[in-house]
Point group: C2
Chain length 145, copies 2
């Protein structure tokens, strides 16, 4: 048995169900409100597209907390503290419309699961700064995609 | 000649070009940073879908400033202070990727221009409150869509 001595060992994404409101001409989809429990300040909002089957590899924010929403498509998000165990969340704009809050210190990689491209909104409490992001190749952790 | 006596007569959307970054597996698209000039605080982020040809009718926020981004598709945004004159902006995730900042006091309506649905992100400096939104039918202003 491996004894893991890591202060982040219990860190997991927070999953918050979001409302999708049926509106004539096009639905309204909630993302984040300033009074939500997982809101930790606004630094930057940006989008990532992800093609079906494509995987964007491991990254870990040392400081930033991410709030991830998938308004179109379907995405597999995988997180791990140290590669000993993994948490997988499959988020879809239609069938599992939730916000994932990823605290700093967690490794994250994600894969597109729908035809053409899926879209991810990230609302981070920090402006993007590459210095606070650690990056590793996909093979760095042994996860069966 | 009609003399317009309206303090908002000169109010227009602010147009800010956004970066679209070519990334293997799916592009990254900027939306809003906390140090951008048009950022006036974070209240809520939400999405509106808009079907091709569909129009979401006139609404005017008395308090909130909107920051609108179109990460997928193509949308015609029309604004007016009082129906005397109109400003039209056609925003596209591919060919005119800009953020529109809509100050309070401006009437706004918008139309989907691409097959299937286009997607709009709104980052507002206020949490959505229906009390601060005036609404009118499409026929209220004489605009040739």
């Amino acid at each position: 048995m491996t004894v893991v001595n890591d202060n982040n060992a219990g860190v997991k994404p927070t999953i918050t169900p979001l409302q999708r409101i049926d509106v004539e001409g096009g639905d309204v989809l909630h993302a984040l409100k300033s009074h939500d429990k997982t809101f930790q300040g606004f630094g930057e909002a940006y989008f990532s597209l992800i093609a079906e089957g494509a995987i964007k590899s491991w990254r870990r924010h040392q400081v930033a907390t991410l709030n991830l929403v998938v308004p179109l498509g379907k995405v597999r998000f995988v997180t791990t503290v140290n590669g000993e165990s993994f948490e997988e969340n499959i988020v879809s704009s239609q069938h599992n419309f939730v916000r994932l809050t990823i605290p700093s210190g967690l490794w994250l990689a994600f894969q597109g699961l729908e035809k053409e491209e899926s879209l991810i909104l990230n609302i981070s409490n920090r402006v993007h700064q590459s210095e606070e992001i650690d990056r590793r190749d996909l093979s760095h952790f042994d996860y069966d995609w």
